[in-house]
Symmetry: C2
């Protein structure tokens, strides 16, 4: 596709940036990139601590092109998740970068367990948000209000559920940054008219056996995420009702 | 997510590979990667002519890790598309790599205008196939039978429509390579339960104004693709009825 037609003549140029990090889930980033890199009059920045290429949790190489210290204030910060999010939950360099950008940005958009990183950075206190279904119960530790929805918009924070929800969320974000017409042009360009061949895309619709198998496969990281979330709740001064 | 549980004990290890090239559409590749890199007992190879990183059509850097001459015979070859596909349509090195791998592979999976590359390699003669909606009319020049569907399976060739159809197609491919249970586990892991916020994902459902705008934005490449397809039809000895 060539550049999309847009009739607005004097649009503000937008700076959109996404964090990349080792053992992230590449789909949390590349789904939103597919949509948001097509926003008219915008630049997409791929950001990390330094420019060393990283591998996602399944081995794909992703190459950052700018760094925390170099990138300009963003209009939109995209925060992906994936297994490697867990390693950054107490990383002050990462958390303060998120805080600092969030302070200036029009929107922060978390995808999948990127919501936990935003939570650790203190962005989700009192904010309605979603995340990957296996981590939804952890949002309370960051003072967030968990919402079991595909995409949640609460003020300046947009959150998408697991991985592929980043596409749905990014189209919402594109319409917030520009308008629905732009979002619809992008949707048609990328022919986003999904037809999943099976109905097992959420724990509400998958068979109990499938849910159980996938839960088991992610049990270790879910336990680790819970322990981390509890430590962070203490640091943030969030009190979670007993029994959670 | 950790590795998915699988009960089969002696599965054949599968080699899955995807072509990457300059000005491709990264989503044609990263969508299928998200699904297929999770197939149990498999290795995913990111392949190009050489190991030089490439930029997709929106600027994302993708890094191949093996080359045409080095990669082993694959069980599945993934052929993505995007604007840069047009530059490879008469590239004998690329076409003979596709032919050679297709000869040995259990399946070839084209995504978006990757179908045109497979067509130029002569793989689609008499084969029912789909591609990005803006290019569907070009499939006849390769002797293919165009089918306006999200995913088409005809013998060993699986084709997906534009960009995001790669997710739907890859889940079908995962179930062919393993079984439905594996595909459903992967679907749940990546929470693929899509909820597009707008209905403009196909030219049948988008408003005429949106279709027109997106058609205009891709008019130049569509014209170039038509001219190329006509040359290739001559080379392949495909006769296309007048008036097409």
């Amino acid at each position: 596709m060539a550049k999309l037609v847009s009739k607005s003549s004097a649009m503000k140029h937008l700076h959109i940036g996404a964090l990349v990090f080792p053992r992230m889930d590449q789909g949390d980033f590349t789904g939103p990139f597919e949509v948001l890199s097509r926003v008219p009059e915008s630049t997409f920045h791929v950001i990390a601590k330094d420019r060393t290429p990283v591998r996602d949790m399944r081995g794909l190489i992703l190459t950052p092109e700018t760094t925390f210290s170099e990138v300009r204030p963003l209009d939109l910060l995209v925060v992906p998740g994936g297994a490697g999010q867990e390693d950054l939950m107490e990383d002050e360099t990462v958390l303060s970068f998120i805080q600092q950008q969030a302070h200036n940005a029009s929107y922060v958009f978390s995808v999948c367990t990127g919501a936990l990183l935003c939570g650790a950075a203190g962005l989700l206190r009192g904010v309605r948000a979603t995340t990957h279904w296996s981590a939804l119960h952890l949002l309370v530790y960051f003072g967030a209000i968990p919402v079991n929805a595909r995409v949640v918009i609460d003020g300046t924070h947009i959150s998408a559920a697991g991985v592929t929800a980043g596409l749905d969320g990014a189209l919402r974000v594109a319409s917030l940054l520009r308008d629905e017409r732009v979002a619809q042009q992008i949707q048609l360009s990328i022919e986003y008219s999904p037809q999943p061949p099976f109905g097992s895309g959420s724990p509400q619709t998958a068979s109990p056996a499938i849910v159980n198998e996938v839960r088991l496969s992610s049990q270790k990281i879910t336990e680790s995420r819970l322990a981390t979330a509890k430590r962070i709740a203490v640091r943030l001064g969030v009190s979670v009702p007993l029994g959670r």
